[in-house]
């Protein structure tokens, strides 16, 4: 008898657990709703946060720009044309010609003053090679009026919409740019505005002014020198191989830095994010766990007699634990299924962008744009599911163990 009918095959145990689960369908439904809402919230919130941080990151990289930058030593402290560097030599060029390099650009970045007939502003003047600059920052795609620069010797400038508004100027008008040349003399020159661009962050639109690299090199009297080289890696999560290769090929006196050292705020934000996701998932789980334990305890409690009876008939305590844990796993799996489905259904339509421009200037403080793109990461979904199923199963062991410890005789006699 002892090993006979109660050594049930898995399928039978499953059926038994399944039916037990639905004995009190209201209770099970409520618990399922709670698990589903919890799992949904875990994934939904995480996707929103990931989307926001992802946006901050891509905007940050676009503004730096690049994953790796090369500067003359001291440029960070003294961002002047005096701290320029020569165009990359043969050794550096061959290091840059790497399968890991997605794009790179040699650029000039100097502070300047821009004047229209109506107003004057301080800006960052960028001297760029139109093709490689677009490959690094995607600026050409942001031009909404006119065109981006054509060649390295283009005589025009491209400015942001916001800056044009501040200067009370428009496409086709002339502006004067004043900056300092390599001999500390004021160099100035008139440019025609050939294009206007729109950036995600207004601050960028007001700050960055694009001119052709060759034209600026002439104005600044620096030959073919530049002030920085920005490099985009094919995989931003794994830039160290390329970084060390480039570092090795860079001449003495130049400084090579990865993005996570240049923008500490960004990299910390990214690192803190993983911790935040885990904490959030665990907090939601804890809030759920009270209900879970409660439901299972009640299920065990109202079955005291029955459990006593089958124990008396010879079912081993381990089998009882097994059966109750299985019941809880079933509950969790269904809850996870519904929760995941809810998350996917609610996030997918939002992935094309959630307009939250009502708080745009606030988000700009964080460094994010006004449209939020929730990002469903497989890793996060897996994490949420694993935490719920693992800790959930663990939690259900307590009520199961209590059930297995029942004294058959007392249990049968209880009401």
């Amino acid at each position: 008898m002892s090993s006979g009918i109660f050594n049930l095959p898995f399928k039978a145990t499953l059926t038994l657990s399944w039916r037990n689960l639905w004995r009190n369908h209201r209770r099970t439904a409520i618990m399922l709703a709670a698990i589903s809402v919890g799992v949904w919230a875990m994934i939904f919130m995480t996707a929103i946060m990931r989307g926001m941080v992802g946006d901050m990151l891509s905007e940050g990289i676009r503004n730096l720009p690049g994953h790796i930058q090369i500067h003359q030593q001291g440029f960070a402290d003294d961002p002047s044309i005096v701290n320029s560097l020569p165009s990359p030599g043969a050794e550096l060029l061959s290091a840059l010609d790497d399968p890991d390099t997605e794009a790179w650009s040699g650029r000039i970045k100097v502070p300047a003053v821009i004047s229209s007939e109506r107003d004057t502003r301080g800006v960052t003047l960028l001297g760029v090679d139109p093709v490689s600059e677009d490959a690094v920052t995607g600026i050409a795609g942001q031009v909404v009026e006119g065109r981006f620069l054509d060649t390295v010797d283009d005589k025009g400038v491209v400015i942001g919409l916001k800056l044009a508004e501040r200067l009370e100027t428009r496409l086709g008008k002339r502006i004067v740019i004043m900056t300092q040349d390599s001999e500390n003399n004021i160099a100035d020159r008139g440019f025609r505005i050939v294009g206007l661009y729109k950036a995600k962050l207004e601050a960028m639109e007001e700050k960055n002014v694009y001119a052709a690299r060759g034209t600026l090199q002439g104005l600044l009297n620096i030959g073919d020198r530049i002030t920085e080289i920005a490099i985009i890696d094919t995989d931003m999560n794994d830039i160290d191989p390329l970084y060390s290769k480039i570092k090795a090929a860079t001449p003495e006196g130049l400084e090579v830095r990865p993005w996570y050292e240049i923008d500490v705020y960004l990299s910390t934000m990214l690192a803190t994010m993983d911790g935040f996701v885990l904490v959030w998932i665990i907090i939601v789980f804890l809030a759920l766990s009270f209900g879970l334990v409660n439901t299972l305890l009640m299920a065990v409690f109202e079955r005291t007699r029955e459990i006593g009876l089958i124990q008396a008939l010879g079912m081993r305590p381990s089998m009882i634990i097994y059966q109750i844990v299985l019941e809880s796993v079933l509950l969790l799996v269904i809850g996870l299924g519904v929760g995941n489905a809810l998350a996917v259904i609610t996030i997918l339509p939002l992935e094309s962008g959630l307009d939250i421009s009502a708080v745009a200037e606030g988000l700009a403080m964080f460094g994010a744009g006004a449209v939020l793109y929730p990002t469903l990461l497989l890793d996060d979904v897996i994490l949420a599911n694993v935490v719920v199923i693992l800790l959930g199963t663990l939690t259900s062991i307590l009520p199961a163990w209590r059930a297995a410890r029942l004294n058959p005789v007392q249990a049968i006699n209880s009401t």
Binding site: N24, R26, R27, I30, M31, A33, A34, V37, G38, A41, M45, M49, D77, D78, P79, S80, P111, A112, V113, S115, D119, T120, R121, G122, V123, E165, R166, M178, T179, Q180, N184, I186, V264, Y265, T268, M269, A271, T272, W280, V284, L286, A287, L288, F290, G291, V293, N294, T295, L297, M298, F301, E302, I356, A358, V359, E361, G362, L363, M365, F366
Partner: protein, 410 residues
């Protein structure tokens, strides 16, 4: 009668001790967490607002209409010193200071940078801004300052200048005339914000007005209220004072720093999303418990109804039980939350990476949540309310109970 009901409810609650404690446990957990995070939130918002505004912006500014959106030289507050004096005496406060602001190319012998030059009233500026107090080398401007200038530390480094050096500035005046001058550096300030330390230079308002052809005018009068709550009242009073000039507007900090308010709103929204999830989960837990406790008492309730008790009386009993449970969760949760939060508000706490993020929002690198009455009761209050709402369904079920059938139920 009331007394009997209460005693009945209390005893019912403890029929299944473990179940009740687990449900109350869920409330305690959520309540403690809510007290902590709401305190932390409120504390950091206050700090963010104060730390941001005290540096430079102030609480309120009087400006020419349109200057905030598009700061043009020609959008001026006329006869600004007299007006600031008038405001000071009318409001009975010294925390009023006039400013003018212009853009100029500032050059040392080695370097040139375009930046904002601010004309300030040396005697009053320190009442509305922390910058005068943050002069690390030399001294701030004084009432005798004329062609003297105070600049930020990053700017000093970039210009490669030191105290006593002269720098020239070139810009355009109010009437688009050429504005130029040579000023001696008497002080270098360091606010810690690279943006301000790089992009600001201050001279006395009189010198600014002469150099930039301001003809006695300026761009803004900055006011500080005693605290953030006093801003609306101060704004109304200031408005009355400048009512004579319909070109002028009186703006509060929310308009002056829209990003600040919105960053708080964005943060608040995501925080409340998270809180709602917690509250809903606790409510589910209560719903389950109370529904079970009603269902398992079907027989008992049937008997009570057969004895003449009205369903409303029984429903009230269920609600009373829930209220007691919620009250218990509230009391213990708030207490736990208070102890944890109070402890952390004294010793402070930080987590890896916080320093870098806090700096961006003008927050210190250690957080001290601030416990207030509101932060103690707001979250837990909503949890208790949610729990009572969740018990409505189980309570309503009593109205459809038929005594005879109920008495036969197992």
């Amino acid at each position: 009668m009331i007394d009997v009901s209460l005693r009945l409810a209390w005893r019912n609650l403890w029929r299944y001790k473990r179940r009740t404690w687990l449900t109350v446990g869920a409330m305690i957990f959520s309540n403690a967490l809510l007290v902590f995070s709401v305190s932390l939130q409120f504390g950091s918002y206050d700090m963010m607002i104060n730390n941001t505004l005290q540096v430079f912006t102030g609480h309120i500014q009087v400006q020419h209409d349109g200057y905030q959106q598009d700061p043009k030289m020609r959008r001026v507050v006329p006869d600004i010193v007299a007006m600031a004096d008038g405001l000071r005496s009318a409001l009975g406060s010294n925390e009023v200071a006039a400013r003018g602001a212009g853009f100029a190319l500032v050059s040392s012998t080695d370097r040139s940078y375009g930046l904002q030059i601010l004309g300030v009233e040396p005697g009053f500026e320190s009442n509305v801004s922390t910058i005068p107090g943050l002069v690390k080398q030399g001294r701030y401007l004084n009432n005798d300052s004329y062609d003297e200038i105070v600049i930020g530390s990053v700017l000093a480094r970039n210009l490669k200048v030191a105290l006593g050096d002269e720098i020239t500035f070139l810009g355009s005046g109010r009437d688009d005339s050429f504005a130029a001058g040579v000023a001696k550096i008497v002080g270098i300030f360091e606010t810690g914000s690279a943006d301000i330390d790089r992009n600001m230079a201050q001279v006395s308002l009189a010198y600014f007005q002469d150099s930039f052809a301001m003809e006695g005018s300026g761009h803004s009068i900055v006011l500080r209220a005693e605290n953030i709550e006093g801003v609306p009242a101060l704004r109304t009073r200031a408005k009355d004072q400048v009512a004579g000039n319909d070109k002028l507007v009186v703006l509060d900090w929310e308009t002056l720093q829209p990003g600040l308010k919105q960053a708080i709103q964005a943060d608040m929204t995501s925080a409340w999303f998270m809180y709602s999830v917690l509250i809903v989960l606790v409510a589910f837990s209560v719903l389950n418990t109370q529904l079970m406790s009603v269902l398992e008492r079907t027989r008992e309730f049937g008997t009570m109804m057969a004895l003449g008790l009205k369903p409303s009386r029984l429903a009230r009993l269920v609600m009373t039980e829930t209220a007691m449970m919620a009250g218990l969760g509230l009391a213990i949760g708030v207490l736990t939350g208070f102890i944890i939060t109070y402890y952390l508000s004294v010793v402070g706490f930080s987590y890896p990476g916080m320093e870098e993020m806090a700096a961006r929002f003008n927050l210190p690198d250690r957080m001290y949540p601030s416990v207030s009455m509101l932060s103690l009761v707001l979250g837990p209050g909503i949890v208790a309310l949610g729990c009572l709402l969740a018990a409505v369904y189980p309570a309503l079920r009593l109205y459809v109970l038929l005594p005879i059938e109920a008495m036969r139920a197992v």
